[in-house]
Symmetry: C2
């Protein structure tokens, strides 16, 4: 049997933290914040910048004070079932198409943007709190649009094609622990279709699609950290991609093709 | 509001391909194959080597020729429902605890090792085929044990702590495309528990566990490629972890805690 591997030699991929980003404030222009940090780590054409959902939501002022929310009867009922704050449940429902699973301490919904997500991605952590810990942060209103805007502004300012991914940490069916996934993207293919390509032995691959933007989002999460590390942006360098279009909606399985909803 | 980000500066993470690995053959000692390639890319203490499931299965001779399989009545029935080869269905069932979902062209099972996996991870691609395309490859018998063995042998030979992850590409609920996950590991924490740590604003994190080994597995997949690139091993450098024990079983959600099985 021939042991010789016919592969081309792949390149290293580098995951470069953008250190010392300032805390994002409502109204911030994220492209400007990134450009300021690029002096230390200049991006190259075809790099990918992965940006944490949290700073996008902060810049877009997606804060809500739970004290301002009046729960509906439905929310009260669901809050009793799940043991959650009725005002939080009201807010979760307002961001969602439907409830996928409910149980004590668990409320998994289909978010308006299509993600299946615990608590509609609404989070208490890593945001400035009032005394009652009532401040929460919603997902960006349209994460693909947010990514496109940053992508366009950097192209305009630096003249390079910098792909953009906005990532968030989501729980999974079947497996413990959250992992980074892409909730918005611009300038790269998020789903890679390998059907018809040849494998190592010249046989044709069938039915293989790779969620490449989710893999990039997960890789960047390793550099970002989750607690107080606070590295909200990571440059990914060395990944080759020829298609320069696409957004993260390609990663969302259509409900009628999903066996777990 | 204080814009100053209190973060420490995170380090770059590098994903280094081990190029020119030979094709793995039954009986190969994978640690030896890796050691030969380490001359070009020497590992350092606390690096992580991510190894593709496929070469582990090949070295462990997990090939099966479907011509040797006799389908049971149950397999024949399930093959008719799913449109799959009855011999393949028999083999899938032999590797599985139970069927999770069935549908035309889809057979998702709970593998004996605990993964919820289409076709029990049995694959036709990237293996040498006979004329009838009847050769398939099973998952390693115990991927954590395989990882431990490689980890111990490299420690023995080089005197360094090289964590080991064996990765595979799995489909997900709710999202299109496969992504890399860890099916076996040794020498690093696979699930990171952040409960009780402080966030950026000094508030305590609740209920956050990160599937870090799955994120590492996904990152390495970006370098490996899926079709004929054939980079079956990737060194991950720069990730800090203090706990040096653990295996991939921590990533498998217990069936009684899983709402999607």
């Amino acid at each position: 049997m021939n042991r010789k591997n016919p592969n081309k030699r792949n390149r290293e991929i580098r995951l470069l933290p953008l250190n010392d980003m300032p805390m994002a404030l409502p109204g911030d222009n994220l492209a400007e914040l990134l450009l300021a940090r690029f002096q230390e780590t200049p991006p190259k054409d075809n790099d990918i910048i992965v940006i944490a959902q949290k700073i996008v939501s902060k810049a877009e002022n997606r804060y809500v004070n739970l004290a301002d929310i009046r729960p509906s009867d439905d929310a009260m009922q669901l809050a009793a079932e799940t043991g959650k704050d009725p005002r939080l449940v009201e807010l979760i429902l307002s961001q969602s198409k439907r409830v996928v699973r409910r149980r004590r301490d668990v409320l998994i919904v289909e978010h308006e943007l299509g993600f299946v997500h615990a608590n509609a991605g609404i989070d208490h952590s890593n945001i400035p709190q009032n005394d009652n810990r009532e401040m929460v942060l919603l997902l960006p209103e349209d994460a693909n649009a947010s990514a496109r805007e940053i992508h366009a502004e950097i192209k305009n300012r630096l003249g390079i094609h910098l792909a953009v991914i906005i990532n968030d940490s989501l729980g999974r069916a079947w497996r413990n622990g959250v992992t980074g996934i892409a909730i918005g993207a611009a300038g790269l293919p998020c789903l890679l279709n390998l059907c018809g390509e040849k494998d190592l032995y010249g046989n044709t691959l069938r039915a293989t699609e790779v969620g490449i933007a989710d893999e990039i989002a997960a890789a960047a999460s390793l550099v970002m950290g989750q607690a107080a590390q606070g590295i909200p942006a990571v440059l990914v360098r060395g990944l080759e991609f020829s298609d320069r279009t696409g957004d993260a909606s390609a990663l969302i399985r259509a409900p009628d093709k999903d066996l777990f909803r």
